[in-house]
Amino acid sequence: MRSAVGVICAALMVTTPAAGADVVVVQRNKTFAPSEVQVKVGDRVVFANEDEVTHNVYSPTPGLEFQIRSQQPGQSDAVSFSKPGALEVRCAIHPKMTMRVTVTR
């Protein structure tokens, strides 16, 4: 897994060593699987690029934005969530790739 330093997060989205549980979301055939996950504050979602192409995962949800810059095939990045909310997650390169992360207390 790429180091936490490689992940760019907004102020409320800090990547840290695992404090809670990890939920894995894979990117394959330009699709997120699963397309919706629920986590608790402090948990991490690991975005694993199992595709043959580069992806660029981000969330445009106001107040909960984060972005993982170019993610090469085979690369994984973790994002942790420090406040509750419902996030839309997309790939900037492939606009049809969307999913939802719901963070609860």
């Binding site: 330009k30 043959e52 192409v53 580069t54 660029n56 981000y58 445009p60 934005e65 972005q67 810059r69 170019s70 090469q72 095939p73 900037a92 390169i93 492939h94 606009p95 049809k96």
Partner: protein
């Protein structure tokens, strides 16, 4: 003279596996596959996709074709969709940059509408999610066709034949901006590139393309790294990348300003009929296919937003010629497009 099919295949496979033509820095996925496996990725789909909320009917497609070729969809009544998306130029205009209302030059080249039925996002910067969302953009843009949606509807309602055709195509919806967009989108989805020599080769006709073009296909998938973005039968990933073209245009970055990788990023265009669609790139700044390959060979402008998939390639002159030979096999000889008789 062509060698026999098994010999050709085995030579190409050997080139792949031994890296003779591919060099050290090519895709691992391609390196581990045979030519036949690669070819499987390029088979054409059997059907054209249409959305559930605007399914195909012949009436809708024919209405959309009338609208597409009708210059009354512009304020000047001189410019139709087909003025820029001209079937005689493979549904582009052959210009470096499009000309809009009052012959004003726009900032970007006209993209072809070939195979837009499969597009995930429209416009060079992807700002429209669907063809229906895209269709009215150029019509109502002051810089392009400059016709308000209200005037658009009023003009069409003054033509009795259009009133009838809309009633048949969209019986519960009347003439509205939405139904105009739906009809245009339906027609545009029927604009599909025809069977090219490459498709015949994929289908098993080993002599359909030259040995040089077949070497180009291997290079395309390996050392030249083209298939990283120009993927599958339509030769696009429907994605957005900064490929290092010299430009001040932020492209998708204008709509996603916080995403570093989207600055100067533009949609990957199809390569179907590409040798008939010069000049190239989003701004028409590259005149020939050879110059496009030369640009990619250098890696273009090195800037933070440039895709990590773009890098200097060290292609030889022979390899560049093989790539061009391959690209030319993607062009189909299509039947002439019949212009519709417009209702008065």
């Amino acid at each position: 003279m062509m060698t026999s099919a098994p010999t050709q295949r085995s030579v190409l496979t050997a080139l792949l596996l031994l890296g003779v033509v591919t060099g050290a820095a090519h895709d691992l996925w391609a390196q581990s596959r045979s030519v036949d496996e690669l070819k499987d990725r390029y088979r054409r789909p059997q059907t054209v996709p249409f959305p559930d909320d605007n399914s195909f009917t012949q009436d809708r497609a024919e209405l959309g074709k009338l609208l597409f070729f009708d210059p009354r969809l512009s304020a000047s009544s001189l410019v139709s969709c087909a003025t820029c998306h001209n079937p005689a130029f493979s549904w582009g205009d052959g210009l470096p940059k499009a000309l809009g209302h009052g012959m004003r030059q726009l900032n970007r080249r006209t993209p072809t509408i070939l195979n837009v039925a499969w597009a995930d996002a429209l416009f060079w910067d992807g700002r429209a999610d669907t063809l229906e969302a895209q269709a009215l953009g150029p019509i109502t843009s002051p810089d392009e066709m400059n016709l308000s949606s209200q005037e658009l509807v009023e003009r069409l309602k003054r033509v009795p034949r259009y009133v009838t055709l809309f009633r048949i195509a969209y019986p519960d919806e009347n003439i509205t901006p939405a139904t105009v967009a739906k009809a245009l989108a339906t027609f545009e989805r029927t604009v599909v590139s025809g069977i090219a020599p490459f498709d015949e080769w994929i289908g098993g006709s080993e002599s359909a393309i030259s040995e040089q073009a077949q070497r180009g296909f291997v290079l395309f998938n390996t050392k030249a790294n083209c298939a990283k973005c120009h993927r599958a039968w339509n030769f696009t990933d429907s994605g957005f990348h900064d490929v290092g073209v010299p430009t001040e245009d932020l492209g998708r970055g204008k709509h996603l300003p916080k995403l570093g990788g989207m600055q100067h990023a533009f949609k990957t265009p199809t390569l179907r009929n590409v040798n008939r669609r010069a000049p190239y790139m989003h701004n028409g700044s590259v005149a020939t296919l050879r110059e496009v390959i030369d640009l990619y060979d250098t890696g273009g402008v090195a800037r933070p937003s440039r895709s990590p998939d773009i890098r200097p390639l060290s292609l030889t002159s022979d390899e560049k010629e093989a790539l061009i030979a391959f690209l030319k096999t993607l062009t189909s000889v299509d039947p002439p497009v019949c212009l519709p008789e417009l209702p008065r």
